[in-house]
Amino acid sequence: MVRKLWFLGFLTVAVLASLSAAGAVMVRMPLDDLVQDSAIVVHGKVVSSTPFRKEPKGNIFTAHVVEVTEYLRGEGEGRVRVITMGGEMEDFGQIVPGEAKLAVGEEVVLCLLEASEHDGYVVTGMSQGKFRVEKRDAGPTLVRDYRGVMFIGEKKQELSPKGDDLSFETFRALVRSLKK
């Protein structure tokens, strides 16, 4: 009887685990790709956010100014201009689910690509490339908000296990190891 119960329990766990795994298949940019694809990786604070349209009838974007405290990858000036899609003008707002959301006053680590369509940078992989820095007992921790990211990656996509929060030091070490 006991053996039967053990078997029953094992079988239940196995079936539940398989269901969970089937639904947890995710596609995302691995951290090293995220870093290597970026022109610069910065640590800093968002000091301003200004929505704008490139043309009178165009889509809405927001230009953020980030005061850089450290270039983890690449180099540059003390402030960088980061453009995100969407924003709120007086008349209309626009939202693009999946785009990185930056808030004034927020301490962030950003993986950035030189923008082809703007003067400035865009966040690599949309919200995948934005890390909010949280002060925790264990030390500064990088936290990502994946809401909105979908279908990220190129044709040859890689699967990687889910795992978000990581220590700032771990990330810094990773970036250093990937330096050319």
Binding site: V15, A24, P97, A115, M150
Partner: protein
């Protein structure tokens, strides 16, 4: 055998996750929703370059139907016809045209996801005024047969997800929901809504007894030829809209009608006269 049945039943009853849907919000935290739950959606006439048997269009229509068949909500997204409009977004000046479009070349953004959905809304009220879906046909290959071509992106899978954004839904933590945040090539389970998606839709648009009038597809064609590529710079002045663009537009219209056998075409003469569609609207060839 009985034990196995019990195990399977237990597994089936186990929730994949609590109801986890979320609603898109304005910066002030106002939930986004359409003021009128009867929406019209147009599909750009070009469809996807990867599918040449018309099943790309059928896949988008099937995605619309998947949301429309939810019984506890009056929200209805009707296929309203084809269009040659390529511009996304809304400024309040032109008639609202929610479009689904594949961009097969010159993807206009630095980031290169499979699809973007831009939802435009009134910041004060949270009322959505326009929503457009852009598929990245330049970097990704699409299919309507994900079982046979599992390395490609299933159109119906992606479109059903993106149409959830059109309705004001944001992403869900429920890994089995259509509105879950991730999908890979060949995935197609998002074609079907799960209880989390349905709960979200019916909460945002609760049943009010209203039924939408059946929409007879009426194609929308802008007479102006393209003066610019998406995201690029204007190649010609708006004032150049004279006889030549009209002839070009007419030629494009004839060729296009031949391809899609559309029932009717709505031409925005008023807008043409007022010159509203000088930039970014126009024929992409028929």
């Amino acid at each position: 055998m009985k034990q196995l049945v019990v195990v399977v039943a237990l597994a089936a009853l186990a929730p994949a996750g609590a109801l986890a849907w979320t609603q898109s919000k304005s910066s002030k935290g106002v939930g986004l929703k359409w003021p009128d739950s009867c929406l019209k959606v147009y599909i750009n006439e070009e469809g996807s370059d990867d599918v040449d048997d018309g099943s790309d269009i059928d896949a988008v229509k099937a995605s619309l139907d998947e949301w429309n068949k939810v019984e506890c909500s009056p929200a209805t997204m009707s296929f309203a016809g084809f269009t040659n409009i390529t511009k996304t977004g809304h400024t309040g000046e032109e008639p609202v045209v929610n479009i689904v479009i594949w961009r097969e070349k010159k993807w206009p953004y630095t980031n290169r996801p499979v699809a973007y959905t831009a939802v435009t809304y009134n910041p004060a009220s949270g009322e959505i005024v326009d929503a457009d879906i852009e598929f990245n046909g330049q970097d990704f290959v699409f299919t309507t047969d994900p079982i046979k071509e599992h390395w490609k992106i299933d159109i119906q899978n992606a479109a059903t997800h993106e149409l959830g954004h059109v309705l004001g839904l944001d992403h869900s933590d429920d890994e089995l929901s259509t509105m879950h945040l991730a999908a890979g090539p060949g995935e197609y389970h998002k074609r079907s809504l799960n209880e989390d998606d349905i709960e979200g839709l019916c909460t945002i648009y609760p049943d009010n007894g209203k039924q939408c009038v059946q929409v007879v597809p009426q194609d929308v064609y802008s007479d102006y030829p393209d003066t610019k590529e998406p995201g690029g710079c204007a190649a010609g002045p708006r004032g150049a809209a004279g006889v030549a663009p009209l002839l070009l537009g007419l030629a494009g219209l004839l060729a296009w009608r031949g391809r899609r056998s559309s029932k009717s075409v709505l031409r925005w003469r008023t807008s043409l006269a007022e010159g509203h569609f000088g930039n970014g609207y126009g024929a992409r060839g028929g």
